[in-house]
Symmetry: C2
Subunit: 246 residues, 2 copies
DNA sequence: TGTATTAGATACGGCAATGTATCGAATGGC
DNA sequence: GCCATTCGATACATTGCCGTATCTAATACA
């Protein structure tokens, strides 16, 4: 009989974030293919429902979507916020995946344009030729939701910052190598270039969704991206030099 | 005795949006300095509370902040969403005001740099020297909230689109004349330039708030803005020519 | 100043979502 | 195939918020 425990769910809550290797429960061992399965389905449902209805979505809504009842939820998470937080890894993974995909397209284009025309222009163009995935709207909605929630809940913000940094680092590294493959190197701190590009990306994304009649995401980036890239990179001489470092 | 009415509040709800001139109530005349006053205070409270707690804020929270009880609220609005919507005008006004203020600073700088160095660089620099107002965070929060809510509620989106367009037009016009005063003219459709700049602005704003340890808003814009402006404007020859128009 | 009317406060009833406590069913080890 | 255990469903009490229906105090006009 649970006498002092704050509910068994607490211990599992952070599993999805990767805190634990896996497979441990308060009392001992014995976990559970079934559990993983329902966690998975709850998270999938959470993704959909949060995208549709935001963080004010109900626990019951999530459960219904997943095909469970509230009992299953409370056995796996403490609150909707907990589930929401656990979902961040998906957002990060999807972001990276899309970036990789888009850049690999661009890379091919660069190979061809290398000899002939403008490398940057060609790369950007190919990058943008990727139609945005239908999921992008959902991802954008979720991103905004994360930002808002973090802005209002310091504790959540703190936890999120850790994950966010992980993603940011991967993106930084990735962008640098992508540029390198295009024969370019940043003339400012690569992380800053990465932030500038991210800002541009997010701004264009937001605007295209907020005003469906306005310019598309592609159009906006097509207009701005080449100038920014050319302005902040150079043709692969030495790259960025740490200022004040001998 | 109200027999068929859906509540007296309905008729007033749209006043703040400027649908009606003012001063009309279901039964006849007789409105009301007092009413305006409380509307004002409710909206002010709404601004604060929505920024702090988002659209899931409670009617009671708003009323408490304003120093009223729920009775006052229902006498003026139907739902929190109604109040939220009415607040958009404030957002628009603040946006324009800030833009004007910032550009008027930049204008002065241009006057001085005209003869000497780089006009664009000087203007951007001065534009950015304006410290962001402490309210900016609240405005950003609210903007995101509008975007999210509109993305999820088509009806709200439709109503909002009207107001948004109004603001957009003002911004467009404003940016064009600001550029002109700096001796520049757009080489693409001015509205598109306006959107690009807005996207950049919003992206930088978001990022600076989402990641307080990262580059500031100013830093991000300082890095990107000059290249975009130079890329999409020219030194005031003729300006943009409608394509396919003789 | 007196009176008609309106703004806002107070007092319900109702509902939707929550969290817990308990129970039956599925699962994995033997 | 049996048993120990855990997972998820069900039942229940509770709470918070909403919207309406009155009621009282403030306001405009005579």
């Amino acid at each position: 009989m649970s006498s002092e425990s704050p509910g068994p769910a607490a211990a599992f809550a952070s599993v999805a974030v990767g805190e634990f290797g896996d497979d441990l429960t308060p009392t001992g061992r014995r976990v559970t293919r079934r559990r993983q399965r329902t966690r998975e389905r709850l998270m999938e449902a959470g993704f959909e429902v949060f995208a549709e209805r935001g963080l004010s979505a109900t626990i019951e809504e999530v459960c219904e979507r997943a095909g469970y009842t509230r009992g299953a939820f409370y056995s796996n998470f403490r609150t909707t916020e907990e589930l929401f937080f656990a979902l961040y890894e998906r957002l990060a993974a999807a972001t990276l995946a899309r970036a990789r995909e888009a850049v690999s397209m661009a890379r091919d284009a660069v190979g061809q344009a290398q000899s002939g025309g403008d490398v940057v222009e060609a790369a950007v163009e190919e990058f943008l030729s990727l139609a945005m995935s239908p999921d992008d709207r959902s991802w954008w909605l979720l991103s905004s939701e994360y930002a808002l929630h973090a802005a209002r809940d310091p504790e959540f913000a703190e936890r999120l910052a850790v994950l966010r940094k992980r993603l940011q680092d991967e993106l930084d590294h990735f962008i640098v190598s992508a540029l390198a493959q295009a024969g370019l190197s940043a003339t400012i701190q690569p992380e800053k270039l990465s932030r500038v590009l991210t800002a541009l990306h997010m701004g264009a994304l937001s605007q295209s969704f907020e005003d469906p009649d306005g310019p598309t995401y592609q159009e906006l980036l097509r207009l701005a991206l080449p100038f920014v890239i050319r302005g902040l990179t150079e043709p692969r001489s030495g790259g960025w030099h740490e200022p004040g470092q001998g």
